[in-house]
């Protein structure tokens, strides 16, 4: 790997970020709320992105974000640094979403509901802010994602948007790896249909 290659620069940036996180976590563990606020500023967008796409409702997603950070503060001593801090936050967030769904009797499968206007606005803003992409295409994908049944949607979001492996996704959602793979396949198939994309095979 050459010293200034994109890969080495990215790797270096990732290392620097994780060192910086480690320092912030250590300080927060000692009771430094300003360090914890810094962590909130760094990660709230990522946590909200996950919560919003899993719950499809902004108020619930905001509650999820709030509870995720409160619980992570309480359990900082349990964070051992084996995974990235953002991954650990996501695990807590997924738990919050699933707990909320269980407590409020949300349907886990079946008919999917269209997005409400205010929730669509939240995703619209995110799509527009993504300079690298065609905003219209991204918005289509966000809308299509939102129409997926909960099981497939959770798996597709965690795996395809946030890059977690099958094993990680299965563990986060408390399902078997095989179920995860089947849900991913079904979710991708539905997305293709709803986005008007052709099947890979002839």
């Amino acid at each position: 790997m050459f010293a200034n290659s994109p890969a080495s620069v990215a790797a270096g940036a990732a290392d620097a970020a994780s060192i910086s996180d480690a320092r912030l976590v250590a300080a927060a563990r000692d009771g430094d709320t300003r360090a914890f606020e810094r962590l909130y500023r760094l990660y709230s967008g990522r946590v909200f992105g996950l919560c919003l796409r899993m719950t499809r409702q902004r108020e619930i997603a905001e509650d999820c974000v709030q509870q995720t950070f409160v619980k992570s503060w309480r359990n900082l001593a349990a964070f051992e640094g084996r995974s990235a801090f953002g991954t650990w936050l996501h695990r807590i967030a997924v738990n919050e979403v699933l707990t909320h769904a269980r407590n409020h009797g949300t349907r886990s499968e079946g008919v999917s509901l269209p997005l409400r206007d205010e929730d669509e606005d939240a995703l619209d803003t995110a799509a527009d802010a993504n300079d690298a992409a065609d905003g219209a295409d991204v918005m289509d994908v966000e809308k299509a994602l939102a129409t997926l049944p909960a099981g497939s949607r959770h798996v597709v979001v965690l795996q395809a948007v946030y890059g977690y492996s099958h094993e990680e996704v299965a563990e986060m959602l408390g399902i078997a790896v095989g179920t995860c793979k089947a849900q991913l396949h079904r979710g991708r198939k539905l997305l293709r249909e709803r986005l008007g994309l052709q099947e890979l095979d002839s």
Partner: protein, 194 residues
């Protein structure tokens, strides 16, 4: 699995991971955590003495403490693992009636052999070390869940030969697995309890 050139992957790659919150939640979070007991800022000399005392106690009592902790940890892990397995796969932990194609049963002789193996399995599984036992139970439950999934799908597509082959193969695999576990667990129990 690589999907080079798949337009769906290209679209999903563009979806942003970060979405900005419309309002700042920090004040509410700060208010909630302010009620928690903050981490103690222990003075440096006091912390050092504490660390020294803890290190000495740990070193001198390391064998005994490790024994107790490992025993308890293993018991907690087996209980937790079992609870997870039971919670997720309650309907399939016990040997459910074998169904082929969702309608026909496989046959009494097979059911008899299977029931016998299952009874031996229930007897022998307790001889395995707790963590190994938890893994085996999880894997057997996965296998049985897979059989149920295939069987249910076969009921929808009864002429699909792939599903038929996979279901037969899965039932055979279950038998072989239980036999292997029975044999190995029995030899574990013979004079070598753990």
């Amino acid at each position: 699995m690589k999907r080079s050139g798949d337009p769906l992957d290209a679209l999903l790659a563009q979806v942003p991971q970060h979405i900005a919150l419309a309002r700042d939640l920090w004040p509410q979070i700060e208010a909630q955590i302010a009620a928690e007991v903050p981490g103690a800022h222990v003075s440096l000399p006091a912390r050092r003495w504490f660390q020294l005392a803890a290190a000495v106690v740990l070193v001198v009592a390391s064998s005994l403490v490790k024994f107790l902790l490992v025993q308890r940890s293993m018991q907690q892990q087996i209980v937790q693992a079992r609870n997870e397995v039971v919670q997720r796969m309650q309907p399939v932990l016990s040997a459910m009636p074998v169904r082929f194609d969702g309608h026909e049963s496989v046959g009494m002789s097979y059911e008899t052999v299977r029931a016998q193996l299952d009874a031996e399995y229930a007897q022998h599984i307790g001889h395995l070390p707790p963590l190994v036992r938890a893994r085996v139970e999880r894997d057997i439950a996965d296998l049985r869940r897979s059989a149920r999934e295939i069987s249910a799908t076969l009921a929808m597509y009864p002429s699909d030969s792939l599903l038929q082959d996979l279901l037969v193969s899965t039932y055979q695999r279950e038998i072989r697995l239980m036999s292997a576990v029975n044999t190995m667990a029995a030899s574990t129990a013979a004079g070598t309890d753990l």
